[in-house]
Symmetry: C2
Subunit: 87 residues, 2 copies
Amino acid sequence: MNNVFKALNDPTRREILELLREKDMTAGEIVEQFRISGPSISHHLDLLKQAKLVIAEKEGQFIYYSLNTTVVDEIMKWLLQIKSKKK
Amino acid sequence: MNNVFKALNDPTRREILELLREKDMTAGEIVEQFRISGPSISHHLDLLKQAKLVIAEKEGQFIYYSLNTTVVDEIMKWLLQIKSKKK
DNA sequence: ATAGTATTTAGATATTTGTCTAAATATACA
DNA sequence: TGTATATTTAGACAAATATCTAAATACTAT
């Protein structure tokens, strides 16, 4: 869960997730949306992958990234627990 | 919102929130729950305060900290939006 | 006033993080 | 086979972060 919070704690990475909400994209397409170098985006994608927030699938010479929202449920559960204050 | 993700991106701070779920506590009581120095906890509390995840109220020589979960709703909303994948 | 308790602020330090450029790897295709 | 394209890995560096000790502030009570 730590990894997920870590992954979410960056505006660029959150923006990547928002992009992937619309449609799956290749690393290159994602890079195009930002003014950040390819390697930096690649690094962000790696963190998102580690958190299991995205899935990477190779198709020929491209790598397609897609959202994986199952981990989001876990976070929401934790947040709900916090919200259910005892006193 | 950035501040909230930042505040949540630390196990100690998340644990503080879990403690405050049970009951309001003074800074000193919170410090007792950890093996971390008072000043460090004070710093964590400050970040939580900045994120508006906790509220601090002075009572005599003590400062009582309590959960504020209204900000949590904002995060949940964002997460739900991410979960509602288009394709 | 003075002493004691609660908490924060200041300043230092080691670690982590986000970014970059250059190089490496992998695939496509002529 | 050789060249172009897509992406990642490696290594460096500045900025942010978590922690500490020492000092400052604020309140209580003798």
